[in-house]
Symmetry: C2
Subunit: 169 residues, 2 copies
DNA sequence: TATTGTTATACTCTATAACTATA
DNA sequence: TATAGTTATAGAGTATAACAATA
């Protein structure tokens, strides 16, 4: 790949391939153990860690890239009785999402296998020091991406549509 | 997340979120600049780096998780005239995939923006030393995952009906 | 018998645009 | 006018199973 020094190239490829393998393995595990997609798991975990209730937009943040995508996933979770949706008393435009007991149970059911898998796939070959370092590096990369104006440097020439969708969040 | 020490938890979350953001940003760029999905880009890159021709199974390795998925993507690339498929003279079961001039041109068109994006999103906040370290750590994680018995250890898949029946008890 | 690849099919997910309703 | 959320719909991608041909 011209334009990227070998060191960076290697790091980039390792990152991409590892992330792809990890995502695939995790999806298998969540599906098998609790019939959840990764996104559904993330949404439930977010509610789990937020004392149970969040508004749709709060819930979406960082997990899903379109409003309708969240509505779709929330619809599935609601149909499975893992969450409920109700109007927000404080803002009649918003809807508050609440995790149900069944939702918590589903997380409880899935989590041990998930933790075990992550431990085996990503942390097994790393020392405690390595883990700290990795957390630091990836944390910086993540923060960089969060801070990036998503489309700013993308060539203006081609499609205006893609940009609009992202920018509107 | 019970069962995972805070350090590991932080590293895991940073990794997952960064990977998700990166994937999304890269897909936008490839689509906008060259009308390619990430997978199609990876397949073309693989051919690009392999002196032009590979067998379907060689091509699939590490990029795609099912045979039919590769056939589908190869079909799209062939329809776009970025690759050709022909019987392998050395093994009549196999088919050899070859990148076309148009395929190379497409890569040439997409690569500058891609490199620029990756540089900005992942390498900007890292020193040269950091990059080496990251490459080392993620390389080890990747190798660990490659070594894992992919499906053999997973519990036999149940049918959807069985799962429903059990869940409703 | 095992392997390579394709096809048929059904399913999941994503995203745009149009819409309602409230701030 | 802007924001929160839903719906309709269309398209992209994925995976399993059945299949044909070759090793």
């Amino acid at each position: 790949m011209p334009g990227l020094p070998p060191r960076q190239l290697g790091a980039y490829f390792a990152l991409v391939e590892a992330a792809s393998l990890l995502q695939h393995a995790v999806e298998q595990q969540l599906k098998a153990d609790g019939d959840l997609s990764y996104i559904q798991f993330q949404l439930l975990m977010r509610l789990f860690g937020a004392d149970g209730r969040l508004t749709m937009t709060e819930l979406a943040d960082g997990v899903v890239y379109s409003r309708s995508g969240l509505t779709y996933q929330a619809g599935l979770l609601e149909k499975a009785a893992l969450i409920t949706r109700a109007p927000d008393p404080r803002d009649d435009r918003a809807t508050v999402v609440t995790i149900t007991d069944a939702g918590r149970e589903r997380i409880d059911r899935v989590l041990p296998g998930h933790v075990e898998l992550v431990r085996r796939l990503v942390f097994a070959p790393l020392s405690d020091q390595d883990v700290s370092t990795l957390g630091d590096l990836m944390g910086r990369v993540r923060d960089q991406m969060r801070a990036e104006p998503p489309r700013s440097a993308a060539p203006r020439k081609r499609s205006q549509r893609n940009r609009d969708a992202r920018d509107s969040r």
